[in-house]
C-alpha cells in the first residue's frame, strides 16, 4: 500500500474515533440514561472476573503492603505487642476476627436516622486510578435497594454519598472529596452552612459558606471548639447525621466565617459501611434565600435618594 494512502486511512480512522469520543462525552454530559445503563452493565459483567482475580492475586497486595508499608506496620506492631502481653497464643487469630466483627458492628450500629432502613456493605476497594482519590467501591448495589444519592455512614457518622450504582456493587464518593458539598448544622450555635472536604487533608472538612462572622467579633457568638457538626435538615441527606467536631474557627475577611472540622470518621481505613435507604433529593443543597436589600421593597427608591440628599428636592 502506498504510504500516502496508508497515512490518509489512519488519519480518517483517528478522526472517526475522535468524533465518537466527543459524541460520548456530550451524551455523558447530558446524563444520557442508556449510556449509564451500558456502563453499569459492563461493570456488572466484569465483576465476577475482577472478584476472581482479586481473590487469586490478593496475596500479592498483602505481600507488597508487608514489604513496603514498614512504617505503618511498625506502629501496628507496637500496638499488637502490647496486646499480645495480655493474650494467649491462639488469641491473635481470634483477635483478627474480633476486630473485623467490631468494625462491622461500628458500621451497622447506627444511632441516628431513626426509622430509616440501612444495608451494611463491605468496602471492596479504594481508588482504582491515580486521580480518583476520594471514592470507595462497596459490595452492595441496586439488588440490595441502594440508589444513587443515598448516604453512606458508619456508627461514627457520615462517610459519603453513593455516586454510582450497579447491580452488585456501588461507588461511594467520600466526604473528603472537595467537590462534594454537604449541608451541615453547627450544634452549638444552630447555624447552617455548606461544607466540603479539603484536598490533601483526609481527616478535615471545611464549612465556608453560611455562617457569618459576628459584627462585634464577640467570641461568645462563635462556634465552640469541640462542638458537634451534623447534617442539616435541608441537606441532601437525613438530618442529624454526625459529621465531625469543630477544631478551628477563623475569618478570612472579617465577614465570612470558615469553620474547620475534624471528621468523625477515618475514611482512609474503612472496612464496612451502612447505606441509609432513604430517598434523598438529588440536588446540591442551597442555603435559604435571605433578602439582601436593607430597604423594604414597598418604599420607592426615589424617595430614599431624596431623603439621603437632605430633602432638597421639592
Amino acid at each position: 500500500m502506498p504510504p500516502a494512502q496508508h497515512t490518509g486511512r489512519s488519519r480518517y480512522r483517528l478522526a472517526l474515533l475522535v468524533l465518537t469520543s466527543i459524541t460520548l462525552l456530550s451524551l455523558d454530559f447530558r446524563s444520557f440514561g442508556p449510556l449509564d445503563s451500558a456502563q453499569s452493565g459492563v461493570r456488572d459483567l466484569l465483576h465476577p472476573v475482577t472478584s476472581l482475580v482479586d481473590t487469586a492475586l490478593s496475596p500479592i497486595g498483602g505481600a507488597w503492603n508487608a514489604a513496603f508499608r514498614y512504617g505503618d506496620l511498625k506502629t501496628e506492631n507496637r500496638e499488637l505487642r502490647r496486646r499480645i502481653d495480655d493474650l494467649t497464643g491462639h488469641a491473635i487469630e481470634v483477635e483478627a476476627d474480633s476486630a473485623a466483627f467490631a468494625r462491622l458492628q461500628r458500621a451497622v450500629d447506627i444511632r441516628f436516622g431513626e426509622g430509616i432502613p440501612t444495608v451494611a456493605a463491605t468496602v471492596l476497594r479504594g481508588e482504582v486510578g491515580n486521580f480518583d482519590t476520594n471514592v470507595v467501591t462497596i459490595g452492595k448495589g441496586s439488588n440490595s435497594g441502594i440508589r444513587e444519592g443515598m448516604a453512606a455512614v458508619t456508627g461514627a457518622g457520615l462517610v459519603g454519598r453513593v455516586s454510582q450504582v450497579d447491580r452488585t456493587t456501588s461507588t461511594v464518593e467520600l466526604i473528603t472529596e472537595p467537590s462534594l458539598i454537604v449541608g451541615v448544622r453547627v450544634v452549638s450555635t444552630d447555624e447552617v452552612g455548606l461544607g466540603h472536604g479539603v484536598a490533601g487533608e483526609p481527616n478535615q472538612f471545611v464549612i465556608d459558606q453560611g455562617p457569618a462572622w459576628p459584627d462585634n467579633g464577640d467570641p461568645a457568638l462563635l462556634p465552640r471548639i469541640g462542638s458537634a457538626i451534623v447534617t442539616a435538615t435541608d441537606s441532601r441527606y437525613s438530618a442529624e447525621i454526625p459529621v465531625g467536631t469543630v477544631i478551628d474557627v477563623a475569618t478570612p475577611d472579617g465577614l465570612a466565617m470558615v469553620i474547620t472540622v475534624e471528621l468523625s470518621n477515618d475514611v482512609t481505613d474503612l472496612g464496612f459501611v451502612s447505606v441509609m435507604l432513604d430517598i434523598a433529593p438529588d440536588e446540591v443543597p442551597l442555603l435559604p434565600v435571605v433578602p439582601s436589600t436593607l430597604v423594604p421593597i414597598e418604599i420607592d427608591p426615589a424617595q430614599v435618594d431624596s431623603a439621603a440628599g437632605g430633602g432638597s428636592t421639592p
Binding site: H6, T7, R9, S10, R13, L14, L17, V18, T20, S21, I22, T23, L24, L25, L27, D28, F29, L35, Q39, V42, R43, L46, V49, T50, V53, D54, L57, S58, I60, G61, G62, W64, N65, R125, G126, E127, V128, G129, N130, F131, D132, V135, S163, Q164, T171, E173, P178, S179, A199
Partner: protein
C-alpha cells in the same frame, strides 16, 4: 481473532488495575495498565491498529473512572496514533528504546488526561501532584512494558508482523 486476543489483553489489564494495583503502588502511584495497552498497540500495531485498540482500552477504563465517559478513550486513541506515526522511523530492536518511549508516552497521556478533564470542568487535577503521578506512572509503565510487550505482540501478531517486516530495497 486479533480482536479476541486484544479483548483478552484488555480484560487482563483492567483486572490487574482493579485488583493488584489498588494495593501495589510506588510512592502512592499505580501504573496505568490501560494506557500501557494503548501505547504498546501503537508501538507494535502502528497508526492503523493502535488508535482503535487505544480507544477500546480507554473506553473500558472510562467505565470505572468517575470522570466523563470518553476522556480516556480520546486521549489513548490520540496517543496510540502519535506513537504509531512517530515510532515508524525508529529501530525496533532495542528494549530500552521501547521502555523509554512507553515511559514518555505514559507521562504525556497522564498530563493530557488531567488537562482535558480540567477543560471539561473537573477541578483539582492540575497541580504538582499531577507531575509526580505522571513521572512515577511513566517509569512504572516503562518497566512493565518489558514484560508486557510479548503479550501485545502475541495479541496483534499479524499486524505487528506486517509492520516489523523488513522493507523491500528499491534497487532501481
Amino acid at each position: 481473532m486479533t480482536s479476541m486476543r486484544v479483548a483478552l489483553l484488555c480484560l487482563v489489564a483492567i483486572s490487574l488495575q482493579l485488583t493488584v494495583f489498588v494495593d501495589v503502588r510506588v510512592f502512592g502511584v499505580a501504573p496505568e495498565m490501560l494506557a500501557l495497552v494503548a501505547i504498546l498497540s501503537g508501538y507494535f500495531g502502528g497508526s492503523q491498529l493502535g488508535p482503535v485498540v487505544g480507544f477500546a482500552a480507554g473506553l473500558l477504563w472510562d467505565v470505572y473512572l468517575p470522570t466523563h465517559l470518553g476522556v480516556s478513550a480520546l486521549v489513548f486513541a490520540v496517543t496510540a496514533y502519535m506513537i504509531g506515526t512517530l515510532e515508524a522511523g525508529l529501530f525496533h530492536d532495542s528494549r530500552l528504546q521501547m521502555g523509554a518511549v512507553v515511559a514518555l508516552a505514559t507521562m504525556a497521556t497522564v498530563v493530557s488526561y488531567a488537562l482535558l478533564n480540567e477543560i471539561l470542568g473537573v477541578r483539582g487535577l492540575i497541580d504538582l501532584e499531577m507531575l509526580r503521578v505522571a513521572a512515577v506512572s511513566g517509569l512504572l509503565n516503562g518497566a512493565i512494558s518489558l514484560a508486557a510487550a510479548p503479550a501485545m505482540k502475541w495479541a496483534i501478531r499479524s499486524a505487528a508482523n506486517a509492520r516489523m517486516a523488513p522493507k523491500p530495497v528499491n534497487r532501481a
